[in-house]
């Protein structure tokens, strides 16, 4: 789909502003485009998830619980890992998180650990208690 193009009426705006067509409708004030709108699928805020007590080297995957869409993957470099995630409109599956922690590639090995967390604007901290396999 082609991008929408706003044609400036004021000669001081020498160039046209290109806005992706996937954005929401934009507003017009006094003949000048001043902002882009949000789609319903855009995040409405941030969620700072902190995992503590991680076994260093563990693989971390954060997924949408119901769809399996991976939202984050990383290897724990330290016992504490901060993961910044988006928060979406109520009912969005990406707010319901499945957090997987796995450490089965190098000794000492740990059993797969899995937990669940709702993403809300703000922050949360999860204490991860992995068990030796």
């Amino acid at each position: 789909m082609a991008n929408a193009v706003f044609a400036p009426m004021n000669s001081s705006y020498a160039n046209a502003l290109s806005v992706p067509s996937t954005r929401g409708p934009f507003t017009v004030g006094g003949g000048v485009a001043v902002s882009n709108g949000r789609l319903p699928t855009d995040s409405i805020g941030n969620f700072a998830l902190t995992l503590t007590n991680l076994v260093v080297g563990s693989a971390i995957s954060v997924e949408a619980y119901s769809t399996g869409q991976q939202l984050f993957f990383g290897i724990a470099a330290s016992a504490t890992q901060l993961i910044n995630l988006g928060v979406y409109q109520s009912g969005d599956p990406k707010n319901d998180l499945r957090i997987k922690i796995r450490q089965g590639s190098t000794a000492p090995y740990y059993k797969p650990y899995e937990t669940r967390q709702m993403a809300t604007i703000g922050s949360a901290s999860l204490y991860i208690e992995q068990q030796l396999d």
Binding site: S58, A59, S61, E63, G68, Q70, F73, K100, R102, Q103, G104, S105, Y109, K111, P112, E114, L132, D133
Partner: protein
């Protein structure tokens, strides 16, 4: 040992399959590999397991390389029978418990290098194709499928290699993990023939050298041996007057691992005993040969007519009810220093200067008949082969006694026949033409005193000689004293 990723593939539906290599890994190796894959950010090559997917496996307890691992494959991950051959030292459960492969480990003496095979539900596992090397073995066997244990989870491990004493063990694999099969194997010094000396048939084994056929008849018989009448559930007979050492080998062949004989409709390699209630004789299912004596397994009757004359007492039976039955001690009595035309009579002494002629048995037979019917079975120490009988005090010989029937009478029954005539059984009762005489063989029952009477009133008359002599477990003999009657 770490699993080589190229050895296996895991499909998107969870089918874990052996695709290359022949290495056998431990169950723990499998778990470790799956767990390693499960931490990968994405699937790699043909192994469709990553952190994006569900947990592929779970171990009962913690990882320990020193003990068998009980592994559960989760979330659709599964192996097939062929792939199960690539693992050992533990068990693998899958399909939410619907399928179970349990490990078996054989332990015991003499197993190194010995052939093992596994029987499940009356058939050789994997149709007899073994993927394990010679013993001792350590491998996985499927014992549960579609949610049901196969044969209650019981698997039998056998070692029945030609030339070695046999051994087997019933393993209950229903609990998973690794179960032990305790076997004991040693060279069988009684095996001297080559395995190719025999061919198997339906209830038969044919020996090439020496030539003979051993036949097994399954069915209840009642037989008497040494005055012990018992029930047996099968009969072993053979041709060629084979020695018992040869019969033993033929019977071992009948139930060795590669036997082609069928026994009572089943493959010989799974034969264990004649009746489920009997005890197994692991080393030799038909009985052990020890010290030159064949200790025949319970329930088997030996056709005594098949016996080589050198083996008449070289065996022991166990009847259906568990009673050991030994062949009778066959003895005879004899007299020497005789001359032709002597008349010799030997019988049991009555203790008061005469022969014991009162048996309590009578005989009935028609004139001219050579068969006499007795009112009861004769004593156990009466010859049942050829022997002598006095009927109404008339001397006859006979060729055999079976039960209460005396056959082969000579002379035949005189005119008038016999009707409840008194009978007794001398051991020798004849005019001799030789210098010595022996009775027919009869079973030793107990010591007794025999009486001998030798008379000759002919051309070289002697004073009638009469005396007694003991008959013991070795028989008895006496020499006539010839005092000329001049």
């Amino acid at each position: 040992m770490s699993i080589a990723a190229t050895d296996f593939s895991i499909s998107t539906s969870g089918d874990l399959r052996s695709v290359a290599g022949t290495s056998v890994y431990s169950v723990l190796d499998l778990h470790a590999w799956l767990q390693s894959l499960a931490g990968n950010p994405n699937v790699t090559a043909d192994d469709n397991v990553s952190i994006l997917g569900a947990v592929p496996s779970e171990l009962a307890g913690k990882r320990n390389t020193l003990r068998p691992s009980a592994l559960t494959l989760l979330n659709g991950i599964n192996i097939d029978d062929l792939t199960s051959q690539r693992f050992n030292f533990g068990s693998i459960e899958q399909g939410s418990g619907a399928e179970l492969y349990t490990g078996i480990n054989t332990i015991g003496s003499g197993l190194t290098g010995r052939s093992h095979y596994v029987v499940q539900n009356g058939a050789k596992y994997n149709s007899g194709t073994k993927w394990w090397p010679a013993g001792p073995i350590r491998a996985l066997f499927k014992v549960k499928t579609a949610g049901a244990l196969i044969n209650s989870g019981i698997v039998t491990v056998l070692s029945r290699e030609w030339g070695y004493a046999f051994s087997h063990f019933d393993v209950d694999c229903s609990a998973g993990s690794e179960q032990v099969a305790a076997l004991s194997v040693s060279a069988d010094g009684n095996i001297s023939r080559l395995v190719g000396n025999y061919t198997g048939g339906a209830n038969t084994v044919t020996s090439t050298t020496p030539a003979g056929v051993v036949t097994l008849n399954f069915g209840t018989v009642t037989k008497t041996l040494g005055n012990v009448t018992k029930q047996y559930k099968g009969t072993i007979s053979w041709t060629g007057a084979l020695r018992l050492t040869e019969v033993y080998q033929a019977l071992q062949w009948a139930c060795h691992e590669n036997s082609t004989a069928t026994l009572n409709g089943k493959a010989g390699w799974q034969y264990r005993k004649l009746d489920a209630a009997y005890n197994d004789i692991q080393e030799a299912p038909f009985g052990k040969l020890s010290g030159g004596k064949f200790f025949v397994a319970q329930g088997w009757w030996i056709d005594v007519n098949s016996l080589n004359s050198a083996d008449l007492q070289a065996y022991q039976l166990i009847s259906d009810d568990g009673t050991p039955v030994v062949p009778p001690n066959v003895i005879s009595v004899s007299a020497g220093n005789l001359l032709a035309t002597d008349y010799i009579l030997i019988g049991k002494d009555n203790g008061s200067g005469g022969f014991s002629t009162t048996t309590g048995i009578t005989g009935t037979g028609s004139a001219s008949s050579t068969t006499l019917t007795l009112s009861g079975a004769p004593a156990g120490d009466v010859a049942t082969g050829a022997g002598y009988i006095r009927i109404a005090n008339n001397p006859h010989t006979y060729t055999g006694i079976s039960g209460t029937t005396v056959s082969g009478l000579s002379p035949a029954i005189p005119s008038g026949g016999y009707s409840a005539a008194a009978v007794w059984f001398p051991y020798i009762d004849k005019q001799t033409s030789q210098t010595s005489e022996s009775s027919g063989t009869f079973n030793y029952v107990a010591d007794f005193t025999a009486r001998v009477r030798v008379r000759n009133g002919g051309a070289s008359p002697i004073v009638p000689f009469e005396t007694t002599f003991p008959v013991t477990v070795t028989g008895g003999s006496v020499n006539a004293i010839r005092n000329a009657d001049v």
